[in-house]
């Protein structure tokens, strides 16, 4: 009986735990849940959208609030250091008399009347024929520093007969030469130990390089070659169909010049290349020789830079005929003519930090006529982990503040770019904002578009590696006039996703 009781207790003890004893082997049952996930919540301006999609462009807002897209070229420049190259002087110049006129007229194209030395030095070499001691005082009257003319004393010790006695290298940096390079007066006064003035039979001077930080004088007419450039236009990169006619595009050449000389541009080439392979040339009366002159700093403005802006508009050029949805890039080749022949100015200057910088920019104010203009953009996506999803429901809400209607479809693309599914059964049509009596677009009510995916369609999008948004823009019916995109216009976009999950 006792064993029976004990066995009974044991059975009771083990069975009373029910499934608890095997709960670590339990699996999760399958059941379905619905999860609602907010995907997008944005209130964005057209400027913000363009800034996110076009990293080549920058944007500005005109006084009328119209947003402009600006494409810049790389800055092209000529540096003065390219002109003021060091000129090697590979020989000693003998001082044949106590008063000498030396010529270092090696700088091409410049008739120098004033110059400032930079990073170079002068040296004197003397050879005497007896054992007497000498003191030689050398002066260059046209060479000044702090209003003090150049003077150097070279001591020749006794018993130097036959030896070449050299001075140290005397720095010429910042010494200012107030004369031409062809007639530099060098005077020396040599005294023997008895203080008698004598002629030195062999005295020479040496300047290794002629380098200047500033030269002034009359420059001859010269053409400086500036590398050609181009402006790629991303705005129409992913064009599909339709047309865009801009109301007032313009091309701007911005020249910053710190050369103190008159300069004219020489426009060799200024074209628009299209995505159909055409090359369309800009034409403007401004291109005629002598019409455009770059501003330059005067002698009292040394170190300053002067800006010249040349704008090719629909009034002074054929730009309106050139810029449209096919435009792919602006190409140009513009050189600089220094001291053009009919220049009224005789003298000029160049400082070693001087430069001519040329920036070309195409400005597209977003004002024009849009006619069923379709474009696309593609975005990579991570692999969609939707194995457990049974159904998806997308709710897209849009409040359009733009005066153009939007047609939207999103394609899901596989690795090779084939369309495997589409977000909407048919492209959705988002109504253009209403234009009020002041010509300003007024954001309309929110429009909601819904799309559902069953398991079959989910399987299709799971292969997607990117999505392609196809966006069509068109003006509202009856709106045939120009429309403008103001910076203040906004689009509200909200996207929510409901996922039914089997888990």
């Amino acid at each position: 009986m006792t064993k029976f009781y004990l066995l009974g207790f044991l059975v009771l003890l083990l069975t009373s735990c029910g499934d608890l004893l095997s709960i670590d082997e339990a699996e999760s049952a399958l059941y379905s849940s619905d999860f609602a996930i907010p995907i997008i919540d944005s209130q964005v301006t057209m400027k913000q959208i363009l800034e996110s999609t076009d990293d080549r462009a920058r944007f500005s807002v005109g006084p009328d609030g119209v947003l402009s897209v600006i494409y810049d070229s790389e800055a092209l420049s000529i540096s003065a250091s390219e002109l003021l190259l060091p000129i090697p002087v590979l020989f000693d110049v003998p001082l044949l008399d106590t008063v000498n006129q030396l010529s270092f007229d090696f700088v091409q194209g410049i008739d120098v009347r004033r110059a400032i030395f930079k990073n170079n030095s002068i040296q004197f070499k003397v050879r005497v024929i007896d054992s007497d001691a000498y003191q030689i005082k050398i002066k260059i009257p046209a060479l000044f520093k702090a209003d003090v003319p150049f003077e150097y004393i070279l001591e020749i010790p006794a018993n130097s007969s036959g030896e070449e006695v050299r001075s140290s290298f005397i720095p010429l940096t910042d010494w200012e030469l107030i004369s031409g390079l062809s007639e530099i007066e060098v005077i020396y006064d040599a005294r023997n130990s008895r203080d008698e003035r004598v002629m030195i039979p062999d005295i020479r001077t040496r300047i290794d390089f002629l380098i200047f930080s500033y030269v002034e004088g009359k420059l001859s007419t010269q053409v400086f070659d500036i590398a050609p450039g181009d402006i790629p236009l991303d705005a129409f990169r992913n064009y599909i169909s339709g047309s865009v006619d801009f109301d007032d595009p313009f091309l701007r050449l911005i020249v910053d010049n710190s050369f103190g000389v008159p300069i004219e541009p020489m426009i060799n080439r200024l074209n628009i290349s299209t995505n159909t392979g055409e090359v369309l040339a800009f034409d403007s009366p401004l291109f005629d020789r002598g019409v455009i002159k770059f501003d330059f700093p005067g002698f009292d403005e040394v170190g300053q830079s002067k800006r010249t802006v040349i704008t090719l508009t629909k009034e002074n050029s054929n730009i309106l005929e050139l810029i449209d949805e096919r435009s792919e890039s602006v190409t140009f080749d513009i050189d600089a003519i220094i001291f053009p022949q009919d220049s009224e100015v005789e003298n000029g200057y160049i400082r070693d930090d001087g430069a001519i910088n040329i920036i070309t920019e195409l400005v597209l104010p977003l004002s024009g006529i849009v006619d069923d203009y379709f474009l696309f953009d593609t975005y990579p996506i991570d692999t969609l982990e939707l194995e457990e999803a049974e159904a998806l429901l997308f709710n897209l809400g849009v409040s359009n503040g733009l005066p153009v209607g939007v047609n939207l479809q999103v394609d899901f693309l596989n690795e090779v770019g084939d369309v495997v599914a589409q977000l909407f059964g048919e492209p959705i049509e988002i109504t253009a904002a209403r234009i009020n009596e002041n010509g300003i677009a007024v954001k309309g009510d929110q429009e909601v578009f819904t799309s559902t995916f069953d398991r079959q369609r989910i399987d299709q999008i799971m292969d997607a590696t990117s999505v392609k948004a196809i966006i069509g823009l068109s003006q509202a019916e009856g709106m045939d006039d120009f429309v403008s995109i103001l910076d203040s216009y906004q689009v509200d976009i909200q996207l929510g996703l409901q996922v039914k999950v089997n888990r």
Binding site: F9, L20, E27, S28, A36, S42, T53, D55, G397
Partner: protein, 435 residues
Amino acid sequence: MIRRISILFLVGLYGVTSWAQSFDKSLLFQDDHAVDILHGDQFRDSSQWLLYLPSFNYFASQKGPKFTDYLYRDNQNRLLIDPNRALQTAEEENVFQSGGRVNVLSLAWKKENMILSAGYGLRYISHVDYPLQALSLYTAGNALIFGEQLDLSFDAQVQAMHSYHIGLNYQIGRLTIGGRVEYLSGIADLSVSRNKLNIEVAPLFYGISIDNDFLLNTTHLIDYQDIDEIVIDYSGDLGRSFFSANSGISFSFAASYEVDDLSQIEFKITDIGSVSWSEAPENFITEGQSSFGGVSILDLINVENRVSYRDSLEALIDIQETTESYATSMPVSLSASYMRKVHPNMSLSISGNMVNFYGRTNYSAGVSGRYQLHQKASVSASIAHSPYQAISIGIGGSIALGPIQIFAVTQNAAAIFNQLDAHYNYSSIGATVQF
């Protein structure tokens, strides 16, 4: 991930419940010889020593889905966890409360009017209080109710500890008074000290708003990597937990009075105390109001940007982690009973019990009868009432095998083969030796 958490949670709960005993021993059954504060009735003869052999007692109180409602076996006999089934029986407020004690070994020594006792055991406390909306959200997802704030606030305290106790009984005439002091060494804890969790999902585009003031403390029970990687598992060193830095003291008192030769009343109050958790404590806090309506479309269309919804959701919840020590209170229980012998072989008892824990007061009451079948064997039966189960029928019995006395009782016979399949239950099983 959620499936894994649920499995781990249930396994963890199983782990602690399998040590089993109640917040305190019930006074309903005279056949329940589990270790208690007063030991006088356990001495059947002139023995001076009473050894409590390994035994356990526990109680469970469940409102809404029972523990077993989360489990079922399919036609392939696989055991499955299915919160969706539990949803069918869920109420606005759902509670699982349990507690128990494993008596590893205890000893009582009687000397004239005094009994000294000491012992060692393991205790657990388990309390989870969750709203219907939380369970609904977990099972049906958050696409449940739009545009309305869902209150997901829940309370929880799951902890286990070593208990070292000493006690003293003293009899003065018909009155016996006793006290017990327990030194508690915490093993693991998970407890919510601030519980506000509100969420609202907007219609149509499903923007999520939260309003939280939630603080969860844990010691050795949660491994939190990020919102997608939460593992509930014991991470402490059980060997070091016998005398850990997580320590506390609790006091219990009892008194019995023999009204006459046939009747006796007893009263006790237990677990006045707390545990301080300072060994590797972790605190997870989310507070304040925030919302997430989605990412900016600019981030999506700019290929240079990376968009992480997980980061956005983590930023929304903004869980802050700290390592501050904290304290948890023990559940204070009050019990009273009245016993009367109505026949030489039969006695009746009436008892009541009240527990205050987490601001919630639970009670139970019942009557029981004990019949002495034989000098060495008795059987008991009871009928009890609790808020979550109006009527439960209990049975029990004890048998003496020489100096050894074996006993087993349950207040819910219907759950005898599945102890957690009841809205209210108390069970106790064990043995004592006298010499």
